[in-house]
Symmetry: C2
């Protein structure tokens, strides 16, 4: 493989190709996002960058995420709390969905082949051209369930 690149390097190169320019904010956001395996919000990214001394503006965080989304480089995750979260799109082998604890807000990723198979079968048999699907499970996590034992 000539391009033994990380997701971050690949994403940066792809973004650069679109406009012919690069920039510091973009690079910082992409590199930080690249260290995550599961979803992060724009505000979390912004706060983390500012905490380490960066001067990135929140607008640049959103702009970068929007660009990544347009190019299919991130997955947009909506857990129903009105906050958009993003995670690097690393391909089918990393595809997963999320469990959300209603009590403590913890987010846990999970993958299930049977679920994916059911979704694919469903997509194929419908009159729609399905190109994405989201699944969110809600309930109580191990720490929060049965606190009165």
């Amino acid at each position: 493989m000539v391009h033994a690149e990380t997701w971050a390097e690949l994403a940066l190169e792809r973004l650069r190709r679109e406009s012919g320019r690069s920039g510091t904010a973009r690079r910082e956001v992409v590199e930080l996002l690249g260290r995550h395996d599961c979803c992060v919000s724009a505000l979390e990214l912004h706060d983390a960058l500012r905490a380490r001394g960066s001067r990135v503006g929140i607008a640049s965080v959103y702009r970068t995420l929007e660009g990544l989304d347009r190019s299919g480089l991130v997955e947009r995750v909506d857990l129903g709390d009105g906050i958009a979260r993003f995670e690097p799109a690393r391909g089918d082998e990393h595809h997963h969905h999320h469990f959300l604890c209603d009590d403590c807000g913890k987010v846990e990723p999970f993958a299930d082949p049977a679920l994916e198979a059911a979704l694919e079968r469903l997509a194929g048999g419908s009159g729609f051209a399905v190109d994405a699907h989201d699944v969110v499970l809600r309930g109580a996590c191990g720490d929060c369930r049965a606190p009165v034992t």
Copy 2:
């Protein structure tokens, strides 16, 4: 059954029991929502009511929906566009999920036993107490796919 009621009548009675009072706004919202089988937004309900001459305030719409949600009388549907939608909870036999067209915004409900089975198996085998799940399929609907034929 003594109470051969519609969903709207049942919901109104249940809400009334919680506070001992009834009101016009509440009744209008519940009755209108009861005529829907699939998801509607608070604004859509409000607009429809005002259009027919009602003086309901948007706050009452949200308050009613919140009360219905607390009592499990509605399903809260999140399609990822930042707008909360609601549909009457009429029981398992009416349980369904949604397909959303990215082009025209059309929402189409669907039900699939295999999908539900996969979700139940998944919930049982996890360390979580899953009590709700959401599935959203996204893509192009029949009208919007292959416009160049």
